[in-house]
Amino acid sequence: MALAQSDDIAEKQSDSGKSVREYLSSHLREYGLLFALIAIMVFFQVVTDGTLLRAVNITNLLLQNSYIIIMALGMLVVIVSGNIDLSVGSVMGFIGALAAVMMVHFDQPMYVTVVVCLITGALIGAAQGYWVAYWKIPSFIVTLAGMLVFRGLSLWLLEGQSVGPFPREFQVIANGFVPDIFPPVIGETIAGIFAERQVNTLALAAGILAAASLVWIGLRQRARNRAYGIVDEPRGFFIARNAIVAAAIIFITYKLSTFRGLPNVLITMGVLTVVYAFLTQNTTIGRRVYALGGNEKAAKLSGIKTERLTFLAFMNMGFLAAAAGLVFAARLNTATPKAGFALELDVIAAVFIGGASMSGGVGRIIGAVVGAFLMGVLNNGMSIMGIGIDYQQMIKGLVLLAAVVFDVYNKRKQG
């Protein structure tokens, strides 16, 4: 995820030799989001007496937010294209129900179920995208209809009951951990040094590798930009930002390694995030989605097949909603008619907190992911503190409003 960000910041260069203040004011949004996340984490770490960053809680945090993040990736694309998808919570629930019925009632093998579910999700997205793209029906309405239809379908499919439990191999999707491939002796040695009970070497190694490659990509990009004379991020900022991100990754993976290692879901999430960050920023199809959302008519007159892109954005959303549905069902080990209820709002909120614009054409994958984490940490922290669901809702609502107000204020200030 920081891969996209280092790219992002290097990308938005204009004049070299700007003052630090000018630089900061024009990149306030990107740094602001990161700082907000850090500030909130520090705050909860203090008020929960260190519970927030305990290994078990970090693991929980990742598992709890995995499906939101997976859907936020697709939602970002949909919102950048100038649309919205209100049906993702229902679709997610429906796919969970479908998986449950297939495996529990019809004894289908897990792999068949997963493949059928993912295809079904993509088809659902395609069906909705068809009306939006080719009939020009506002996505708000199409997906509002979809939300009701798939909520109803889940109820019908489950006959109002909860269905479970799932086979062990399916649960592993959400609750499993990547086994340590290194000899136990290495982990034991490290555990000895840091006085931990155990250390999963693979997790730690993966974290260090990820952090190192981020720094490496950042350095390479910076060198390339310097060759173009378009570096404007002051050196101190570059170092500090990379140091913080790298340290955070190593810290988190270290914590994970002292518990049960890398959750399978983290791998899924990480891979998907990198793939979508690359897709949106570095490919022609991603570029065209931004053009479509930024000015549909101009995009069309530039030879871009805008209808097909809209269609694909929704199909992709359906696919990711299905993936999230599988993760969610596996995590709860049961499919309930209520699964995914109102979840679309969390997903949409994450994307907007991450800096996307309602009118389309603006927004980044990294922003959506950080936005989702920010909401996740808020949820988690407030729950640990024992704050009631009533206050939690209010605070989350205000955070969303504050993030968007900040965007608008920032934009206005830049004139």
Binding site: Q13, T283, A298, S302, G361
Partner: protein, 505 residues
């Protein structure tokens, strides 16, 4: 005459750009004051400072109005003082009636209930003043741009205007509508309304202005008094900072073989299926030739171009397009681009650019294949391409990472041109390529067109400005009511001949 408005030493900066640099201007009571300058010279910025679009505090300098210092926080502040600005892009609600638009935000109402009788009678009075014969209940989207302009002025009059500012009021108007508007300005002047007009059309400026202030690069260059005689040459010289003896660059073209041939082209209106918009149009373009299409607005010129360009307009399109003697498929935009046709829109803001994105983004948009392999973008290559066009077309910007929304009209137009040149077209259809851009940028665009012709490309130029067509084209087709009604060679074309072809159809 007393001074009505004085702006002293106005300086306004945007990130990286100083748009206004100590500009001063004094407008006398009861005069028509023209502000001339190239695109990006700072004319519109100055008016935005005056009308409170840029609130007090966001600029330096002082302003006095009727002898008192003024500092506006927003437009309603300036309107309350009787300073009303009519922007290039009209601010009317198309779905509402003329009367509703005129009294929008200023409704004739008692306790929130609208008095329709008063609204409509007052509207009739105002429309009579501006010489518009339309019932007050007509929806604004049912009347043409020229009449909408008059509605805007009527709206200004309804607010007890003391200083009326018109930003490029005739940019979208036909000759006779423009004339009417200018005469109306003179009439308003006789009634004591002071006007500021921003215009590129120097003929108009000479016709109406009492005083001309010329701005260049954000600075006041000169203030000229009409009583001492206004010479266009002098104004142009002050605007561009150099002598411009020729408005059109010289060209010596030798058109070669026929490059594009359109025959029997028909198209129907997308909503009203029974209306035939293009009627059996046929024309040819040779290599190295600039072909003009003249005609009044609504004659179908844009529709002809867009229907050829991937059927972007109309339905039930029929006819044949040949390039280099072979029929080509132009049934979608990407096929048309692939065949070698480019269409540079007349409406760069809403159809040409993704305004929130950078110059680089827009330059490569129509030909991403050129800066990618296997669907993966090479952004360094992209930067190189954008910088090449920036240098070749002289796009004035600190960097290609500048958002296009921050560019002046002329520079935006160049970015749109860059986008299409980057698709390496054989035929370029340029729709009003110099609309709303200043003399200097126009000259540069003309030069680019000549270079394209010299490279052996075919250029089709659609324009409402007849002198431009006569000055630039090798042949001119005249279009009227959806049909090509005549063809004139460069030597025989004149404004009178073009007009008579339109009138005597």
């Amino acid at each position: 005459m007393t001074t009505l408005l004085e702006m002293r030493e106005i300086t306004k900066e945007f990130p990286g750009v100083r748009a206004l640099d100590r500009v001063s201007i004094a407008v006398k009571q009861g005069e028509i004051h023209a502000i001339c300058g190239e695109n990006g010279a700072g004319k519109s910025t100055l008016m935005k400072v005056l009308s409170g679009v840029y609130p007090t505090g966001s600029y330096e300098g002082e302003m006095t109005f009727e002898g008192e210092p003024i500092a506006f926080r927003d437009i309603s502040d300036s309107e309350a003082r009787g300073i009303i600005i009519i922007h290039q892009e009209l601010a009317l609600v198309p779905q509402l009636s003329i009367a509703e638009n005129i009294f929008l935000g200023n409704e004739r109402a008692k306790r929130g209930v609208i008095d329709w009788r008063e609204t409509n009678t007052r509207t009739e009075e105002l429309l009579a003043k501006v010489g518009l014969k339309e019932p007050p209940t007509t929806k604004v989207d049912a009347i043409g741009v020229g009449k909408q302009q008059l509605v805007e002025i009527a709206k200004a009059l309804s607010k007890d205007v003391k200083l009326l500012i018109l930003d490029e009021p005739t940019a979208a108007l036909q000759e006779n509508d423009s004339r009417k508007l200018l005469d109306l300005m003179l009439e308003l002047k006789a009634q004591g309304v002071t006007c500021i007009i921003i215009s590129h059309k120097l003929g108009e400026v000479r016709y109406v202005a009492d005083t001309v202030t010329v701005i260049r690069d954000g600075m006041t260059v000169s203030t000229l008094d009409a009583s001492e005689g206004l010479s266009e040459d002098r104004i142009v010289r002050d605007m561009v900072g150099r002598d411009m003896t020729h408005r059109f660059p010289e060209h010596h073209r030798k058109p070669a073989e026929v490059l594009m041939e359109v025959s029997g082209w028909n198209a129907w209106h997308p909503q009203h299926a029974e209306r035939q918009v293009i009627k059996n149009a046929s024309f040819t373009v040779r290599r190295g030739e600039v072909v003009g299409i003249a005609g009044v607005m609504g004659s179908g010129r844009t529709e002809l171009a867009m229907s050829i360009f991937g059927q972007s307009y109309g339905r039930n399109i029929s006819g044949e397009v040949k390039l280099g003697g072979k029929p080509v498929d132009v049934s979608s935009v990407d096929k048309a681009i692939h065949a070698g046709i480019s269409y540079v829109t007349e409406d760069r803001k809403s159809l040409g650019l993704v305004l929130d994105e950078t110059i680089r983004f827009n330059t490569t948009l129509a030909h991403l294949e050129g800066v990618s392999s296997g669907g993966i973008l090479n952004r360094n290559e992209e930067t190189r391409v954008a910088e090449r066009y920036r240098d070749a077309l002289n796009i004035r910007t600190p960097s290609v990472f500048q958002k296009t929304i921050n560019l002046s009209g002329g520079n935006q137009q160049k970015v749109v041109l860059a986008k299409w040149l980057n698709t390496a077209p054989e035929v370029l259809i340029l729709d009003e390529p110099t609309r709303g851009i200043d003399v200097g940028a126009k000259y540069e665009i003309y030069t680019i067109i000549n270079e394209l012709a010299a490279e052996g490309k075919g250029v089709v130029m659609i324009s409402s400005e007849m002198p431009e067509l006569i000055g630039m084209c090798d042949r001119i087709y005249v279009m009227n009511e959806g049909a090509l009604v005549g063809e004139l060679a460069a030597g025989e074309a004149s404004q009178e001949k073009i007009m008579s072809l339109i009138v005597n159809e």
